[in-house]
Symmetry: C2
Subunit: 192 residues, 2 copies
DNA sequence: TTTGTTACTAAGTAATTGCTTAGTAAACGG
DNA sequence: CCGTTTACTAAGCAATTACTTAGTAACAAA
């Protein structure tokens, strides 16, 4: 009986995610989203309720996106020191400049919204909680593989690496390539 | 002959700085500034040209502000490892929570604007250049005082510390106190 | 083909954005 | 007192904001 949607909610959400990633929450207008998502405002509100809910869904989508792409190798159950090193060096590399200037959507959100909105803040916390667990697992694997000393405090080092990763996201916008490489190489030296 | 301004430009700029620090560039409206600065819109435009110029002046003011307050001890010509450690531990401390949730105006700006506006980006770069020089000087002093090994690459470690400090600014919004303390203590362990 | 349900387009809402302008008040040399 | 210069207040500008609504089109069962 009913008429069917002629757009893919999952696909337009991914497009919305990219707009928010590029421009931030406040600076992204519904008109821009309308244009980039390729659907009418009415459809945006029909599918995602309002701008804030769309943004929250976009953060969740970003989590999926980074898990499938950026953190893919780090999320392998047996990922260890070599995967971590590869990741960090790549994050500081010139060739990833296109990514660099956008930074991390979640870091950008933390900086822009902070704790001013409880719902959005919850998503930020959840995101970094999953990154923390990922890092913790990598450290445990690295110890098991004898890649790093078993004397370290795993939780402490996981939090250190989490802080470094958040630092990299900002530093990718404020530092040049040499500075970024310096930052990352000293951070790596600390764990190995 | 002429009538004189009955507000202090330096004082209203400091108030503007605090509004931008709290809410960011885009989310701060001229009406809000009018209210917080305690002067009419006309006067804002007469003194600071437009919103963007006011924001840039606010960043410069922030540089003065942090130099006189937050970085006061670190900027002493002979500041060394002990000053640095005190600073980092304080940055991760619970008692500074009021500051914590605002983060750093410049990190917030880097996340929000990034390289999208060349004039604003220039201020961000300049700010962190001065922090870099401060950190480099501290490391040189620390070596001279035999507080740290003279084998380290000073520029490399200065960039590491710069990255850590940018990380702390974000982490103050995403981490709990324990996590922040972990992050900072491992970072300190790396230099001493 | 009719009917009921949902999805579309396009126009419009009030409120807010950054910024301007017209008119008046304050200062002080003459 | 006057005259000139600058600073103030308050109203108003067009453009944009997030969001809605009225009307129509598409679907599929009856």
């Amino acid at each position: 009986m009913p008429r069917y949607k002629n757009y893919d909610e999952n696909l337009v959400l991914e497009k919305a995610m990219n707009v928010f990633w590029e421009d931030g929450y406040k600076a992204t207008s519904i008109r821009m989203l309308e244009k980039e998502m390729g659907i009418n405002q009415f459809s945006i509100y029909a599918s995602f309720k309002n701008k804030k809910e769309l943004f929250i869904k976009a953060i969740q989508k970003y989590r999926e996106h980074t898990a499938k792409n950026i953190y893919k190798d780090l999320l392998k159950p047996d990922a260890g020191l070599s995967e971590l090193k590869t990741f960090l060096l790549k994050a500081a590399d010139k060739k990833t400049a296109k990514f660099k200037y956008k930074g991390c959507l979640v870091v950008n959100t933390a900086a822009e919204i902070g704790i001013k909105d409880a719902d959005i803040n919850r998503e930020v916390i959840m995101y970094y909680d999953s990154i923390y667990n990922m890092l913790r697992n990598i450290l445990l694997n690295s110890i098991a593989k004898n890649e790093i000393s078993s004397n370290i405090n795993v939780e402490q080092y996981a939090n250190f690496l989490l802080g470094v990763m958040q630092g990299i996201s900002v530093a990718s916008k404020t530092m040049n390539t040499k500075q970024l490489a310096d930052f990352v190489s000293v951070a790596i030296a600390q764990i190995e």
